[in-house]
Assembly symmetry: C2
């Protein structure tokens, strides 16, 4: 046990495979006394903290789960005992996931906090599809939004569509029909759209389609959470884009894939 | 030299410190025959590819630099010789930086392409400030946009402001006065704003201010490229926020920092 002043590391576990952890994350895990493990993080991550006490604090949307206030108390209590607490969060800790509240609690307690960045699943989803999130032929940026209304309220889909940025929508699978309908009011029906479930993990699955078929195709193919929904012309640059999408952008001789393309990770 | 079929890895070097590379990136570098090095990547990264031939292909905005078509030819030529080419890009390869064009060229040549994600500087900037990009009290997402007009045209600042997402603006330092003015037409003058130069690197510097003072404060304090500009209420959650910002959000007894807060990395 460490008898110095404790500290808390907010550690980004990335999208799944341990290979996608940073060197800095691996070092922090090796030095941890206590690991608080989010249930969207790969559970094998605890092998990198063999000496640490591991506490699972899963908080999946809609399920019975560890209340946020309890997680915050745990972090504070162990760190005030002088321990190095590593709070493991899926993706990047600073994109969704309530890091803001946790940082405020820890600062109010006078505790040192270290933040270790990681790969957010929207980036892993783009890698899975083999596309840039911001192909300059199509857009000047990308917007990451959550459709988890309890946490953040309903995004302004009209405003988001008007930006012409690629949209990376997190926590949207339960409302994919409503999201697609809202976007269809502002974007062309044939706007390329994709779903990547478990992006960057060994169970990764991906689907490429168009906005007006997005909900039916994703639900029909059995896609569920956790998944990232990508919408925008940049997504249509994927080599896996269905033939009608490749024709739309003027390519000849592409692979004739079916309109609904579902691919499992190798 | 590898006599099998070659391949190309688009490798994300992250924002600067080698500690922020992923394990997957380190493995790819160790296996590289040829490394094509972007000049926004930390040059020390070549120590991780000791056996590779290193070619510097910097392409800084506005400077004399290696043309994109030449870089694409180099990648293709070496890979077609059977070599493992690692194309190192700063940040995440799939956010800005022309990965889309490179992927298309490599696929047309029938080459295998691997993408290794990394930490984009907007995430490192948020870590530097100690804020969530998407504090749920303030927003439902974050938009990453480039202000590099030659590459992507002018973003629709009105539409971006209307999304109420946090804005992470890349390549904007040369036009920071115009960007701030455009946003001021749609956002309150006291909207928190920050600049983080060399985010995630040893030369990191950060500035916290408000939108109507953003350009004057950043230029007055000598901030330049490469830097990320962050705009939005989530940014004001930083413990380093100036006293007037802490008063604005109703906190008492905060540190009385000057309105212009410039902090160098330790």
């Amino acid at each position: 046990m460490n008898t110095d002043t404790g500290k808390v590391t907010l550690l980004s576990a990335g999208p799944g495979e341990l290979d996608l952890l940073t060197l800095k994350a691996v070092k922090a895990l090796a030095a941890a006394d206590v690991v608080l493990l989010d249930d969207l993080a790969n559970p094998d991550i605890v092998t990198l903290a063999p000496q640490a006490r591991v506490i699972r604090v899963g908080k999946r949307g809609g399920c019975r789960s560890t209340p946020q206030a309890f997680i915050e108390r745990l972090m504070r209590r162990y760190a005030l005992k002088g321990l190095h607490v590593v709070r493991v969060k899926g993706g990047d800790a600073l994109l969704f996931g309530r890091a803001g509240e946790e940082l405020a609690v820890l600062r109010d307690a006078g505790l040192a906090v270290e933040i270790v960045n990681g790969i957010s699943s929207g980036f892993a989803a783009a890698a899975a599809l083999g596309v840039s999130l911001t192909h300059r032929r199509h857009c000047h940026g990308v917007s990451f939004v959550t459709a988890h209304t309890e946490d953040h309220g309903e995004p302004d889909w009209a405003a988001l569509a008007a930006t012409r940025t690629t949209l990376a929508i997190y926590m949207g699978m339960r409302r994919i029909d409503g999201i697609a309908a809202a976007l269809l009011a502002h974007l062309p029906a044939d706007t390329p759209a994709a779903v990547v479930q478990w992006a960057g993990g060994i169970d990764e699955r991906r689907l490429l389609t168009r906005l007006d078929r997005l909900a039916a195709d994703a639900l029909g193919a059995g896609f569920g959470s956790p998944a990232v929904i990508l919408v925008g012309d940049a997504v249509g640059e994927s080599a896996e884009a269905p033939c009608w999408e490749r024709e739309r952008r003027g390519e000849q001789g592409g692979k004739m894939l079916p309109a609904l393309s579902v691919v499992r990770a190798a």
